[in-house]
Amino acid sequence: MTTTAPAHPGAASASAGAALELAAVTKRFGAFVAVDDLTLTVPSGSFFALLGPSGCGKTTTLRMVAGLEQPTDGTISIDGRDVTGTRAHRRPVNTVFQSYALFPHLTVAENVAFGLRRRREADVEARVAEGLALVELGHLADRRPALLSGGQQQRVALARALVNRPALLLLDEPLGALDLKLRRQMQLELKRIQTEVGLTFVHVTHDQEEAMTMADTVAVMNRGRIEQMGPPADLYEHPRTTFVANFLGRSNLVPGTVVERLDGDLLGVDVGGARVRVPASRAVRDTGDVLVGARPEKVRLLADGEEPAPDENVVGPGTVTDVSFTGVSTQYEVRVPGLGVFGVFAQNLSGRAGAALGDQVRLAWAVDFTFGLDGRDDAAEGLADLDVEP
């Protein structure tokens, strides 16, 4: 599999070339294949996220880049230099570990200075102060890590890696141990710092929202392979596999068969007797069995007697089986006989109540937002994996 991330628009001009290249990298632990023939290029200056459920090989990939694991096969290049056989301490790479791995016997400032001292760099004190200022922890320089909160430790770990100005900064679930509110705050902060320092960040996470918030390019990993790679919006609006469709947000997937090719490059698909249209450019295949997909927020409920727009797909009627009001939106579950359950997220724009439990409704969504996946894929793939990681 060969995939190349599009260059970050801002950084492409500043520093051309690839910060990281993996060529056919495979890692086996005994009979288990953790990373399977992975080829990937991360452009200089980009914020790259490896997203996937636990056990998908993302952390192993990161550890191979850091030099903490040796690939069974393939080559790893950093800044155009082959580092496959290079030991960890000789690679121009720094890692922010999931557990932070701060040295408990050293103060915050000594922790941050560690890498600079090993490389015998000049102006260690000034650069440590600068690094701590960047993460707004200058006032805690003389403390021991054990006396800091989780969020503060996280920032020390970040400063400790950043001060070395590595060719590549690796982040291994860096926000995993923080509570939700702090995590949201740190996401924005990490993004700000990355823009400010202009280094290449490779970020490993199982949190799709985290990946989408921060990264320019997201690679969705599953079972040691990359399922799909691209800008977050692209992955979300245009998933190519059922795994991506389900793992990244939620999708309504309905099995159907392509029966005709219509004008305007549309595919006519039969789903349980109804006819829906899918843009050919948004479908993985244009014949045979497909899964027709639509994101829940793209689907709307048609009130009794209301007619859909001409560029909309319509299914139903079905029965409203669940209504949950979340403030910003209302989430409906609608069971359509022969097709299964649809999720519908309706923006709470008017303040008036929509459908009620037990109502018969029809569902409509724009043809342009419809996507088509391979009908031979498991429609449930990526679903069960959603919440397994702590």
């Binding site: 030099g67 030991r87 301490h89 790479v93 890692t95 570990f97 557990s99 791995a101 701060l102 016997h105």
Partner: protein, 304 residues
């Protein structure tokens, strides 16, 4: 979180639970307090008193009466200072040797053998195994090992590492060897305990931050295992300074005598109780001072 913290700081309410808590500890401490009072505080008091006794005028050998004869101390020190200094010298050498031998052992068991519980357990059993036989018996065995007709000595002669006629038994070398051997487990176990707790991710962080394996050892592993090193050196140095078995069995009674041997002889052979008691007190105070200075210098109070 204690009850006091839950109830808030200060105020009359806070004082009550705190006092209850302190009183609650007393029954737990009582057996230890009684035991230590009977078998430590009282004997030390008796020792201090005895160290100031004087012989009964015209009495038999071994008859003394209470007095405050401080000169016992100056006399004892004037006579036996070489043995005292030698004790600390031998103990220091044995401690250093045990550290050099024991640290790598503890490192292999605690770090390298991680994840292989069986191997780790086996090696720990081997470290502790000598305790299954008597200390005296093992030291007598060492006497055989270092004897003039032993294979060790013949091998050293053959390799010209020992001059013709040179011997191992009845030398300072033999005494230090015996001390090192006998106290090695006390060095290995505390170091193992602190290395076993060492987070392997620290080593990865070191490598990630440009530290070679040796530098990572020097800047991360060693400092983090210092509590074990301090504990191990204390557990080796303190009993080794007062030991008399190794110097009696492996030494030559002239240039290998340690202070423990002198105290033993004063008490049981010469029946010179005041001198023996005075030397015991001196040894105790000297060890306290040395250990205090060492712990302070090593700066590991917060890690201990």
């Amino acid at each position: 979180m204690s009850i006091a913290t839950v109830l808030g700081e200060g105020g009359p309410q806070a004082a009550t639970p705190r006092r209850t808590r302190a009183r609650g500890h007393l029954p737990l401490l009582l057996p230890g307090l009684v035991y230590l009072t009977l078998f430590f505080v009282v004997p030390v008091g008796a020792l201090l008193a005895t160290s100031l006794y004087v012989p009964v005028p015209g009495g038999d050998v071994g008859q003394y009466q209470p007095a405050l004869h401080w000169q016992n101390y100056t006399d004892a020190l004037a006579k036996f200072w070489p043995q005292l200094v030698r004790s600390f010298g031998f103990a220091l050498m044995a401690t250093i040797a045990a550290l050099l031998i024991g640290y790598p052992m503890a490192y292999v068991i605690g770090v390298r053998a991680r994840g292989r519980r069986l191997l780790q357990g086996l090696m720990l059993v081997l470290v502790v195994a000598p305790f299954f036989t008597s200390f005296i018996l093992r030291t007598i065995a060492w006497k055989q090992i270092l004897a003039d007709d032993s294979f060790v000595v013949s091998a050293l002669h053959w390799l010209h590492l020992l001059p013709p006629g040179g011997r191992l038994t009845a030398t300072p070398f033999a005494v230090v060897c015996g001390l090192t051997y006998n106290f090695l487990p006390f060095m290995v176990l505390p170091i193992y305990a602190s290395l076993e707790r060492l987070d392997a991710r620290m080593l990865e962080a070191g490598a990630d931050l440009y530290a070679s394996p040796f530098t990572t050892f020097r800047t991360v592993t060693l400092p983090l295992s210092m509590p074990g090193v301090v504990g191990g050196t204390l557990l080796t140095f303190i009993p080794a300074s007062g030991d008399y078995v190794n110097s009696s069995l492996l030494g030559n009674n002239t240039n290998t005598s340690m202070i423990g041997q002198v105290i033993d002889a004063r008490f049981f052979k010469v029946l010179d109780y005041p001198t023996a008691a005075a030397l015991s007190v001196v040894l105790m105070v000297a060890i306290l001072l040395l250990v205090g200075a060492y712990v302070r210098r090593s700066g590991t109070e917060e890690l201990l």
